[in-house]
Amino acid sequence: MSTESRFARMCGSTRGRLMVVGLCFAMAAVFVGVSVARHHVGDGIWLGAIMAGYGLLLLFLSGRSESVALLASHEMDERRRGIDEFAAATAGRVIAAVLVTGFVVQLARGADTAVWANLCAVFGAVYIGAMLWGRRRS
């Protein structure tokens, strides 16, 4: 058995997981900061606690559950990357449908469509950019 490969795998997985958990705690701090700035301390504490709790869940359960490991980017291999890409693509398709529906509904109401139109434009531009980048890579 290769000790080096196991060591490399542990380093990589720990770094990925700690980055995700660190992001959760950073988001918790942002939620608290924004809520305190708006004088809604109670909301900030709740939102921060939920986000920090989610981070702790990822930290302690990613070794026990593969679903949690995927959320925490823990021990990512080719199969887990494939699952992650499938989930991201599915979420992206649903978001695209929601954005287009929102734009059409606002248009039908005769309301301002700028926000929806801008979000649709950003989504389309990112998709086209990513597609062109992917074509160059493969």
Partner: protein, 63 residues
Amino acid sequence: MRNDVRELRVDKGLSQSDLGAVLNVSRQTVNAIETGRYSPSLPLAIAIARFFGHAVEEVFHVD
């Protein structure tokens, strides 16, 4: 895709975690390959076959 990974692994006295550590994949991925739920990429299939000292087509069988 049918394969002989489970038989080869058991013959070597390895657990799924042990094989996963050698191949740099998770235990669940080894299980998914053994049960045929996941077809590995060509590099991973070659790594598996080399680890057991076989050719790829001797380990993985296209039905």
